[in-house]
């Protein structure tokens, strides 16, 4: 197999191609779903194929195929070259690529065996154990839906610079949706646990499941949140959503180059409070953003985006790194072999601070503690909204009554500048990110206090 890819790269180079790369990916995919303890769906699948990307005559072209025989690969390579030749290449911007010392790296890993530890039957047993643990939390817990998705991948990456990288990658995502009911009222909370299939994943799922079961019960007594501007404390999940959705996408260099991100031209500027440092990190093995190599063969690393409030870097692939005359940050990621790599985040988080939670709350006379982010929406000018499943009223430094779901809105830079305390605790979450393509990412950080932020009540909208 390896020689076939090298011969395809050689074929492309013989045709005058400037740069070529081949990505082989084989994924064993398993999906299990149970509802109220009963197995409702199992699915398995094997997805294998090859993506070939070339830079030819100042134009990218890409082809993919499921036929990774020599003949199939050659056809895909010829397709890529043919469509590159068909391009109108009077583009004024000359495409160049940034290189690294490690470009010719070859990994010694010959792992071909599945790295996935648990069998389908074992996962099913763990799901049922998780379900009963959740149910036993409180008799008001009525409906439970649990999904377990396992991806067991093996990737080979080779390019015309000599890279020959082979990596196994495995991850599990366990989603839970729990509803509690009492006296005609109901509260629903969803959450997910993701990461590599290590010994801890199901323990973490049980911890999270029990926590959200308690949250669902608390929501039974939730009142409507007041709407308006308040001092706000974000929990770790909301900090993660702020850092990823509201800020992280604005640092992706394709948006900087196109001028759509309002962080263009802001490198070196103070865009956040001094207590704020933000990182995009490919090296955290326990998160969904773990990436030993990106899809251009760049070794995964940690990139500091904000250091003590100052914007220090954007996220790059080889092409944008060359434009900015910096090293690639290893952020070229493709959904799978069918897609060309885009600039994407890995695990993006705010670094922990030095404030204890007690100190943080003590400073709030009347405010809102916002927890369990569900989704975040943002545009590249910095306007964002974060939807949270629960919130609590803070009075005189104490958490008082539970509130229903709320939406936070604001402007990214203004909000980052309004952060006046960053906690010592730290948590990272895993999930999918969509930017045309869907990829696994992590986000998180400490809990943060924001001097003033708009909060709207969402639970009683209609």
């Amino acid at each position: 197999m390896k020689d076939d890819y090298r011969s395809i790269i050689n074929y492309c180079q013989d045709q005058g191609v400037h740069y070529s790369e081949v990505r082989f990916q084989k994924t064993n995919h398993t999906l299990l779903q149970i509802r109220n303890g009963v197995l409702t769906n199992i699915k398995e699948g094997i997805d294998a194929g090859v993506g070939i990307r070339i830079l030819f005559n100042n134009a990218w072209s890409f082809s993919s195929t499921n036929a990774f025989t020599k003949r199939g690969l050659l056809k895909a390579a010829k397709d890529a070259i043919r469509i590159a030749k068909a391009r109108n290449t009077n583009d004024q911007r000359k495409i160049t690529l940034a290189y690294e010392d490690l470009d010719c790296e070859t990994t010694s890993s010959e792992v071909k065996k599945s790295v996935y530890a648990l069998t389908l039957e074992q996962n099913l047993r763990e799901m049922q154990r998780l379900d009963s643990m959740i149910m036993s939390c409180d008799k008001r817990v009525s409906d439970r839906a649990i999904t377990c998705e396992c991806h067991d991948e093996y990737r080979i990456f080779q390019n015309s610079l000599g890279a020959d990288i082979r990596v196994p990658l495995a991850r599990v995502l366990i989603r839970m949706s729990i509803r509690a009911r009492e006296m005609g009222r109901s509260g629903t909370v969803t959450d997910a646990v993701g990461g590599p299939p290590d010994d801890r994943i199901w323990e973490r799922a049980v911890e999270t499941g029990q926590r959200i079961a308690k949250s669902a019960v608390i929501l039974l007594g939730a009142k409507s949140s007041p709407s308006g501007f308040f001092p706000v404390i974000l929990d770790n999940s909301c900090t993660g959503t702020l850092v990823h959705e509201a800020f992280g996408h604005m640092t992706e260099a394709d948006f900087i180059i196109s001028g759509t991100s309002s962080l263009r031209g802001m490198l070196g500027n103070q865009i956040a409070a001094l207590c704020v440092s933000i990182v995009d990190d490919a090296t955290l093995k326990e998160t969904f953003g773990y990436l030993p190599f990106d899809d251009e063969g760049i070794r995964g690393k940690k990139t500091t985006l904000v250091s003590k409030g100052v914007l220090t870097s954007y996220l790059h692939n080889r092409e944008t790194a060359a434009i900015f005359r910096v090293n690639p940050t290893g952020n070229a990621r493709a959904q799978d072999y069918r897609h060309e790599p885009l600039i994407r985040m890995r695990t993006t988080y705010m670094e922990r601070g030095s404030t204890s939670l007690e100190e943080m709350f003590r400073d709030v006379d009347y405010g809102i503690y916002v927890t369990r982010a569900s989704v975040g929406k943002a545009n590249l000018t910095g306007a964002f909204r974060i939807y949270a499943q629960e919130a609590f009223l803070i009075k005189k430094g104490n958490i008082t009554e539970p509130l229903g779901s709320v939406v936070l809105s604001g402007e990214t830079v203004e909000t980052l500048r309004n952060i006046d305390a960053v906690s010592k605790d730290f948590e990272v979450f895993s999930g999918p990110c969509v930017k045309t393509q869907t990829i696994p990412v992590g986000d998180g950080g400490p809990q943060v206090k924001i001097k003033r932020m708009r909060v709207e009540n969402l639970s009683c909208t209609l």
């Binding site: 699948g45 997805d47 890409f62 499921n66 397709d79 583009d91 509260g187 989704v375 929406k377």
Partner: protein, 455 residues
């Protein structure tokens, strides 16, 4: 090289030889060519050959499913073995009613265009570059971001099952889409988005470019609308997106079976204004979701869902139809972009919205003293318990005294999904056809919704 029919029959035979009671194989192949525009230039040209097969086996009412992307006999055998293993893990489904008998179905015309089938990649790229050029020249240099593309697809699928039948369908599709952003000083527009889709080689890419850039430029200076309850004119594209989340799932048999549909007790009852009819029709000539057969090989047909305001039927595949005591309506679909990856569920083909006494489109605004015109909306989330659709308006305008006023931005609407049809007070006269990604389409005029909550 084996044909899809050979390979699906092979899978079914292997499964039967292994002792299962029933087996079904869904084989798929697609060829896609696309010219992608990003950062105001033509950046990448893609060609994809996609193949796969989903195999389902049933033994003693236990159903297993597995898929593979490798259309060769060893991989298919391995896939069948896995499927059988899964069916042993799964508890029996007492309601299992058997696979449908696959019979020959009438061909639906204008779903396959030989010109699209034979189109060369340079023509696809040329179309995307024409669209880019049209957007650039039509926008008086205000556009700062142009992204989109043109995609041409040929798809073929074959279903074989243990009743001894098999059926095949092939189709072509072309889509051109463009998202533009305009800037004037420090004012950034909403994304201007336009997509046009056809089964034939007849998409006007210049018109896509013009509508997208006009939409972006006209949204400059957008203002947020403060919380209120207002009447809203919803243009066909935005309405199709609302229907996709806030109506279509509720008339699909699988949701109805789980009693998760608000319409479960409403058959034969009035669910909207008199005169409103909603029909699903998989046999429309040239329809974006037309096909001779559905995803389990049953002939597609026409089904009245709402007839003159009265709920007449749900949509079904064989399983859900049988559970609810009716026949399949030919609405088996496979939901994902790689259709072989899923067992059949239920979904629409071409959903047609029609009414009596429709107004001319340009008269819909006349009665509105203060309201909104929404051309595009993006779902934020649908609250499962409270059944509320939250969406951000990405292309919309304030309407005052029947006239279009300021563009709106950063505005979220909330709609109680079971009430959506009740909120329709009036329909326009001119329909547009809007396709969904991964199957399904809506043919609808603009509609006027009353009492829409602006969050």
């Amino acid at each position: 090289m084996h044909s899809l029919t050979d390979l699906t029959e092979f899978a079914v035979n292997v499964a039967l030889q292994r002792g299962v009671n029933e087996a079904e194989a869904y084989g798929y192949m697609g060829h896609f060519t696309e010219g992608i525009l990003k950062e105001n230039r033509s950046v990448v040209c893609n060609s994809h050959i996609k193949t796969g097969m989903g195999v389902m086996t049933v033994k003693a009412n236990s159903v297993g499913f597995c898929y593979t992307t490798q259309l060769e006999k060893n991989a298919i055998k391995h896939c069948v073995e896995k499927t059988i293993k899964i069916s042993r893990t799964k508890p029996p489904d007492p309601a299992w009613c058997g696979l449908p008998e696959i019979r020959s179905a009438s061909h639906v015309s204008r779903t396959f265009d030989p010109k699209l089938f034979k189109i060369e990649c340079d023509e696809v790229i040329s179309l995307s570059e024409t669209m880019l050029e049209s957007a650039t020249t039509s926008a008086q240099k205000k556009l700062i971001s142009i992204s989109g593309g043109v995609i041409v697809a040929f798809e073929k699928f074959c279903v074989s099952n243990s009743t001894g039948g098999n059926a095949t369908d092939k189709s072509t599709m072309m889509a051109a889409w463009l998202t533009t952003l305009a800037k004037d000083g420090i004012d950034l527009s909403n994304p201007g988005f336009k997509i046009a889709t056809s089964r034939m080689l007849d998409v006007d890419v210049q018109s896509v470019a013009k509508e997208s850039s006009t939409s972006a430029i006209s949204s400059l200076g957008a203002k947020k609308v403060s919380s209120a309850t207002l009447p809203v004119v919803v243009a066909p594209y935005a309405f199709s997106r609302l229907l996709k989340d806030a109506f279509i799932p509720f008339v699909c048999g699988d949701l109805a079976l789980g009693r998760a549909s608000p319409y479960i007790e409403e058959l034969g009852k009035s669910v909207c204004i008199d005169g409103l009819s909603i029909t699903d029709n998989g046999t429309i000539v040239g329809g974006l979701a037309s096909s001779s057969i559905d995803a389990e090989g049953v002939a597609t047909t026409k089904t009245d869902i709402i007839r003159d305001g009265i709920l007449a039927s749900f949509l079904h595949n064989t399983y859900t139809g049988n559970r609810m005591g009716v026949l399949s309506t030919g609405n088996a679909i496979r939901r994902t972009s790689n259709p072989y990856e899923d067992m059949s569920s239920v979904g629409p083909t071409n959903l047609i919205i029609d009414g009596r006494n429709n107004l001319k489109n340009d008269r819909l605004l006349e009665e509105i003293k203060r309201g909104l015109l929404i051309k595009n909306i993006v779902k934020i989330e649908t609250g499962r318990v409270e059944r509320v659709f939250y969406g951000t308006v990405v292309d919309g305008f304030l309407v005052e005294n029947g006239a279009i006023k300021d563009p709106i931005g950063n505005t979220v609407i909330a709609i109680h999904m079971p009430s959506l049809l009740h909120q329709i007070v009036c329909l326009g006269s001119d329909c547009e056809q809007v396709g969904f990604p991964f199957r399904g389409a809506v043919v609808t005029p603009p509609v006027v919704l009353s009492n829409v909550k602006i969050v």
